[in-house]
């Protein structure tokens, strides 16, 4: 299975045009490998975003503190 063929199968599978049972064994193996790697990357991305959100939360709390001080 070459890259072009793989991408076509993947898109069709994701769009629901074909289901698992319609895939060949080889395609199942390749897609399993692909999703395992992709999930690993997505996990990293998600953790990264969590850290950024935390930072912005802290920044926001500091601003509120600053605003309160100004009021006084």
């Amino acid at each position: 299975m070459d890259t072009k063929e793989f991408l076509e199968i993947k898109n069709n599978y994701e769009e629901g045009k074909i289901n698992e049972n319609e895939l060949t064994d080889e395609q199942v193996v390749e897609l399993t490998k692909y999703y395992t790697n992709e999930i690993e990357e997505l996990k990293n991305k998600s953790n990264n975003l969590d850290a950024k959100l935390n930072d912005s939360k802290e920044k926001f709390l500091k601003l509120i503190e600053k605003a309160k001080n100004l009021k006084k």
Partner: protein, 547 residues
């Protein structure tokens, strides 16, 4: 301790007693020149006695260093006949340096002079210890404080790395403390300083109790001894064993092993300076292969056994070298190559040996800690009692040694997994070979490719190659299913697809929230800054009106 060693210890103690008489008990109003001459003479006397005690005929000059923050430095140069080494001492600080608010031995209170004097003696012994270390590994001569084979090897590696101009190993983050050559010198000098100063310290206690000496009390002396024998010693054992990652994420052992490759390749003459390194490196400075090291180890062990000599230490050293070579210099791919050459059985035996060696190292380190601790306690007995802090630190140090060992064991076992997996790889390969042989029988044209690809390395590369070849040579009649190359689990695939979809959805939401938050923060910042400016202006106006 042998009688001669005991004599030398007493001689050193006497010199130190004179030194205390001249500079600690009373404030000596010497001038710089006199002072420097005195210090050089005292240093020569103490260092030569230490060297004689260690059966070393050294050639050391004493020089002055003015580098701020540096108390002493040793420069070993005796690689060729007739050359001399040097110990640099910061006499300026010892004399007192008003610019830096340092009063040195000219301090008006005895507490200050005591601190300077013991610190100077400690520095002197520390630098001498470095000299003994390098002399031992350079000349291959045993000193009375014998280093084990493993320690000598570690010293050789560290000196080799240090000798390449400004080489990073010594300066990596906190590696000053990770270096064996430093922790060893600090531990030895700490304990030796107490041993050599013991008579003057006991005398000080006595005089303080009698009320003859004012301005210093017992606690000040206790504190200093604890620093030398307790906290400092334990700290060094702790850091030397913790194998912790430094700020730059560099594992000291890994750094030492990999940097040694560069240092020695760059400067193979280091092998002449530190001949033990020839065990691990070829004459041209390149690293010996795993196969060569294993063969060398086995033949040396066999030779010693034939001669009826104990081979444990030599085997242990080779196993340390092999562990570092495998853990830090070999990729999984090159390990697979080596396994192919050496065979599964030999490789399995090797990894079992290395695990055992790692556990033996743990016992050795714990024993060393126990000995050092016993010695420190013995030195201190009658001087002061160890406090709880020291005992707590001792537990921490012991756990650091165990942690260090675990880390090495993990490294070995992860590499061991690679070797174990090769078994499966071999089994698969056998099947494929069989199938290919049948294929070859049927079609002679394909024969040429047989060994073109079965020699391939690494699981992934193997299967990639297999698919390419399958495509290229249309091996459709090979009796293989995709399940041989991975899991065919349709439910799992669906699960993975859904998980991936869910992650993507969460990420999109988080990205939206983040964007919105950043916009809010920017707006709030602008607003607050404006308000802040307004408040300031208002305050200024009010102030001006008041004036």
């Amino acid at each position: 301790m042998k009688k001669e060693e005991n004599d030398y210890t007493q001689k050193i103690q006497n010199v130190i007693k004179d030194f205390f008489d001249d500079f600690v008990y009373e404030r000596n109003d010497f001038n710089v020149e006199e002072f420097n001459n005195y210090m050089i003479e005292y240093s020569k006397e103490i260092v030569n006695l230490i060297l004689e005690k260690n059966n070393i005929k050294g050639n050391i000059e004493f020089k002055e260093t003015h580098r701020v923050g540096l108390e002493g430095r040793m420069e070993y140069n005796e690689y060729a006949e007739g050359s001399s080494s040097a110990i640099y001492l910061n006499l300026e600080n010892l004399y007192g340096n008003k610019d830096f608010n340092i009063f040195g031995l000219k301090s008006f209170n005895i507490k200050g002079r005591f601190k300077e004097a013991t610190s100077f003696i400690n520095t002197l012994i520390h630098e001498t210890q470095h000299y003994i270390q390098e002399y031992t590994v350079n000349k291959g001569i045993e000193s009375s404080k014998a280093y084990s084979l493993k320690e000598k090897y570690l010293l050789s590696l560290e000196f080799a790395n240090q000798r390449i101009g400004g080489f990073p190993y010594y300066n990596l983050g906190n590696n000053y403390r990770d270096c064996f050559l430093e922790s060893d010198a600090r531990i030895s000098s700490g304990l030796d300083t107490i041993e050599y100063c013991k008579p003057v310290l006991n005398n000080l206690y006595k005089e303080i109790n009698k009320g003859n000496i004012k301005g210093i009390d017992e606690k000040d002396i206790d504190k200093y001894i604890l620093k030398l024998s307790g906290t400092r010693t334990l700290n060094d054992i702790y850091y030397a064993n913790k194998l912790r990652l430094s700020k730059e994420d560099i594992n000291p052992k890994e750094a030492l092993t990999t940097l040694a490759d560069f240092s020695i390749a760059e400067c193979p003459e280091l092998l002449e300076r530190y001949p033990m390194l020839k065990l691990e490196f070829n004459e041209d400075g390149s690293r010996k292969t795993l196969d060569e090291l294993v063969a060398q180890r086995d033949s040396k062990v066999l030779e010693l056994n034939k001669q009826g000599k104990d081979s444990t230490e030599v085997k242990g050293l080779y196993n340390d070298i092999l562990t570092n070579t495998i853990c830090y210099t070999m990729s999984d791919k090159s390990l697979i190559e080596a396994t192919r050459r050496l065979g599964k059985e030999k490789m399995n035996n090797l990894f079992e040996d290395l695990s055992l060696n790692s556990r033996e190292n743990l016992d050795l380190q714990l024993q060393y800690l126990k000995n050092t601790d016993d010695y420190a306690k013995q030195l201190n007995s009658g001087i002061f009692s160890l406090n709880d802090k020291y005992e707590a630190r001792l537990d921490l140090v012991e756990s650091s040694i165990i942690e260090n060992n675990k880390e090495i064991e993990n490294k070995i076992s992860s590499k061991y997994d690679v070797v174990k997996n090769i078994r499966k790889f071999y089994t698969k390969q056998k099947d494929i070979d069989k199938s290919l042989a049948n294929e070859v029988k049927e079609n002679k044209d394909t024969a040429k490719i047989k060994y073109d690809w079965v020699d391939d390395l690494g699981k992934d590369m193997f299967f990639e190659r297999y698919f390419n070849l399958k495509e290229k040579f249309k091996f459709h009649n090979l009796n293989r299913t995709p399940s041989d190359i991975g899991t065919v689990d349709r439910n799992k695939l669906k699960e993975l697809k859904d998980t991936s979809k869910e992650y993507k959805r969460q990420i999109r939401t988080k990205e939206d929230i983040l964007e919105e938050s950043l916009q809010c923060i920017n707006a709030a910042e602008l607003l607050i800054n404006d308000r802040f400016r307004d408040t300031k202006v208002r305050e200024r106006n009010i102030n001006e009106r008041n004036i």
